[in-house]
Symmetry: C2
Subunit: 208 residues, 2 copies
DNA sequence: TAGATTGTTAATCGATTAACAATC
DNA sequence: TAGATTGTTAATCGATTAACAATC
């Protein structure tokens, strides 16, 4: 039986991946947990503990190969699966995310965008035509996306989430300001912008 | 000396605030920690512990007044300060956030938007004219915003953050995919969209 | 008053840090 | 080999949960 990976560790993985990508791009080929800890503002101990949840990627007396570690974490994160992605809700935020290059750069391929607004349907965003939400099931059946990005009004969130789950979507990146209930086997990752700015306000008010 | 509030508690505050707003809107006037815990999927014990970091808002045998608690948490979060906000970077994301009503609803008033692109400068978004980034200091001097939302290219993030801090901005809501260094007394809250989708990918890959 | 539910202390659990033997 | 740095165990620290006396 595999040992359970704590959520805290999982939350840190993308950040490790980012730093390793930067190291790779700057031509650095090896790094010690100490050096990485200084760059990231963490303890070397934590880095070694975290990495050893997944395997011994380092070498005593040497450190870690940046490339090996980068690729390993990419693999662990599942980036190699190149999950197909759709956006539901082509409002301002949905459109902005459609243009966003960061997702594609990390292997997430956008394959469809949906909206209910007739005036938007048929419009092209970044090579993709906005499709009628009525065709959601039909298109999902064909394209088989794994991830759906939800940028619909709060009131529509639950129903649409349900529909997405029913036709086999495995993960929701939820920008709606509600907590969505999904069955086991489906994952929701929330991006609650209002929460972020309120946390900021708290820290400012209490000068932290 | 006040007891230190843990970051974990702070992170949960906006979510409490959201649930209380919903309760308030649905006309519910009182709630027990038990009832709230069931709605939110937390333990009653945690809720009571969290709230008691800030004061005894409840009443034995009765529970909490939704309105009192709602207003108290709003106050704790600093929403009553009505922090003025600016957006730096009027790309797709910056524009989308300018249209976003959620910030204003919680007391954050957008008072200026900046970009360097000549073709954007002078354009109007949601009642605000996009201004030249060259005028940043001048406008900030006059408007005195507390918060800046950063939606500029990664390469510009550090320099602009520096300029914002220099002219007295106290908090950054950072959408750039870099970690920004700021002096003590200034706060950064990151919204790293790529981190979110990678965490989602991890959970899907490992069916969590 | 009796019942309910808080505020708070104590117990448990988990995560982070420190230490060091293993080893490249 | 000697020096460096990992992988891993043990110690510490902090957060969550349980329990219950206080009290509305």
């Amino acid at each position: 039986m595999e040992k359970k990976i704590s959520l805290e560790v999982i939350k840190r993985l993308p950040r490790y991946y980012r730093y390793l990508t930067e190291l790779l791009e700057s031509g650095i080929t090896r790094i010690s947990s100490k050096e990485l800890s200084e760059r990231m503002g963490a303890t070397a101990s934590q880095i070694r503990q975290d990495l050893n949840c997944f395997g011994g990627f380092g070498q005593q007396g040497y450190g870690y190969s940046v490339e090996v570690l980068h690729d390993a974490i990419g693999e662990i994160l599942g980036l190699n699966n190149h999950y197909k992605t759709i956006i539901v809700g082509a409002g301002n935020l949905g459109k902005a995310l459609a243009h966003y290059k960061g997702f594609e750069k990390r292997g997430f391929k956008l394959c469809a965008i949906f909206d209910i607004d007739q005036s938007k349907i048929g419009t092209v965003i970044d090579d993709l035509t906005i499709q009628n939400l009525d065709c959601l099931e039909q298109v999902v059946q064909k394209e088989r996306p794994t991830i759906a990005i939800l940028t619909v009004p709060k009131s529509a969130a639950d129903t649409i989430a349900q529909r997405l789950v029913n036709c086999g979507v495995k993960g929701l990146l939820n920008f709606c300001y509600v907590d969505i209930d999904v069955p086991a086997g489906v994952t929701v990752e929330n991006v609650h912008l209002s929460d972020s700015i309120m946390r900021l306000a708290y820290k400012i008010s209490n000068n932290l």
